[in-house]
């Protein structure tokens, strides 16, 4: 269960012209375990900000957030880290480690969880083959195309079978074919019980895969359902 209770987020910009920026205002919603939501809204509406709160990269300025049955405001550093391990994230800007190969990037969550190398090898190789990167295991991010990097980022987000998957524009650099493959992967994870939230501008994709929508405009939730 994910629950936002009157959540607000204000970015403090010390000394900057324009001062503080209210990114989210009085956000209130629930998502049951195993749910799927699209997150839509115009650019700058607050989609990434909302996801940031969920992947614990930012703390709400007001209100309360419960994730995977945990009150996030009560977490200490260790608790925060351990909760992060149960959340897979596809960042809008990928955030791959530049000095590591595609293989090692995808292996990171398993290695942090101290999984055995044999198992890491089997899982990573299979998943990278599945996203069409069997021949790119040793490539570093700069040796990959934008779409290939995005697929590495997706593989890293799902490799550890997270309880919650957050994807920020995961199809931005993919062609329609690859986007459909990704949706297939996401749907099968969802069927296995992962709660999923996908932020997107791609309304065609939303239309082809009907599901409840969280719509943000100017930091306010204007639609849920």
């Amino acid at each position: 269960m994910i629950r936002f209770t009157h959540v607000g987020l204000t970015y403090h910009r010390a000394g900057a012209a324009g001062g503080d920026a209210v990114a989210l205002d009085d956000i209130d919603f629930d998502i049951p375990d195993g749910g799927f939501r699209w997150l839509t809204g115009p650019s700058g509406a607050g989609k990434t900000s909302l996801l940031k709160l969920m992947y614990l990269a930012a703390r709400p300025s007001s209100g309360r957030i419960d994730l995977l049955d945990t009150d996030t405001l009560r977490l200490d550093r260790r608790g925060t880290a351990l909760l992060r391990r149960r959340i897979g994230v596809v960042y809008q800007d990928f955030r791959l480690l530049r000095h590591l190969s595609a293989y090692d990037n995808v292996a990171l969550p398993l290695r942090l969880a101290r999984r055995k190398e044999v198992q890491v090898r089997a899982d990573v190789t299979e998943l990278l083959r599945w996203v069409g990167l069997a021949g790119r295991l040793d490539h570093r991010p700069e040796e990959l195309s934008g779409g290939e990097q995005q697929r590495v980022a997706i593989a890293r987000a799902v490799i550890a079978r997270p309880s919650l998957l957050l994807a920020d524009e995961p199809t931005g650099n993919l062609d329609d074919d690859q986007a459909e493959r990704l949706m297939h992967l996401i749907r099968s994870l969802n069927r296995m019980g992962t709660t999923i939230i996908v932020a997107t501008h791609n309304m065609g994709l939303v239309a082809r895969h009907p599901a409840p929508v969280l719509e943000l405009v100017d930091g306010r939730l204007v639609r849920h359902g």
Binding site: Y55, R78, A81, R84, R85, R86, L97, H99, Y103, L108
Partner: protein
Amino acid sequence: MAKPHASRADRIGLRAAMADRLLPFMVAAMSFLAALALAGSIAAGALASHWLSGAQGLMTVEVPTPSQPVTANGPLRQDAVLTLLQATKGLSDAHLLSGAELATLLKPWLGAAAADGTLPIALPAVIVVKADARAPDAAVLGPKLASVAPGTIVDSGARWADRLAALTTSLRASAAAVLVIVALVAASVVAVAVRAGLSQRREAIEIIHGLGALDSDIANQFALRAMRLAATGGLLGGVVALPVLAWLALLSSSFVASAPAERLDLVTALPPLLWGAPVMFTLATALIGWLAAQITVRGWLKRLA
């Protein structure tokens, strides 16, 4: 797979995070200084205890107007004192200096007059006696002797010994201060290197943190590397210091030993504690590297998020 993937030791891809080649050399220099300080303090201690054992072993007793009898028809004062000394537990080999011996002692101060016995003053008798641990204190012995020969003075060299002990203590304290300072400098050198590595890898660390790495996961990577680099430096400094220490030990041994054969024995000249210097410094610098890195990384991470 053509290329090997990240090794087990580098599960989170931070292996190259601290490529500071200078670090071992700086730590080596610190270890070298620490070895010198340590050697100085040990040598001072050894010399002091050698001198002290020499000084403490002898007591000097001065008996004024020694040729007067204790009582009418009694023994001479100097003989009475001598008898008393011989009967005292812990004292042995009491020896009354002869006129010639006295004259030799006094010659530098009193000139030829001392030698030909034409001094206008009456000289006291001087008795030198060996004292061991059971010997009474000079403060106790003095009055006892003075009761048979008034004015008798006992000098055990205690005042001199006290000064020597104070000197040794302050030498040791300075050496300890040097050790502490050197250790702090080494820790700062490590901290600076770690900090440089952290800012160089800032983006990677943020990403790994976002994936759920614990502070300890990240700190351990840096601490392991810092420990290795610092320990290398410690070993290097300890090994380089050995010949210098041996030389110092040789120099100081010439104060202690008189036989040339003994002096030249480099191996025994170096106290066993210093032979362990390379091992000791390797361990100490490893610990310093590990701790400094842990503290630096954890502090940095707290400010990050």
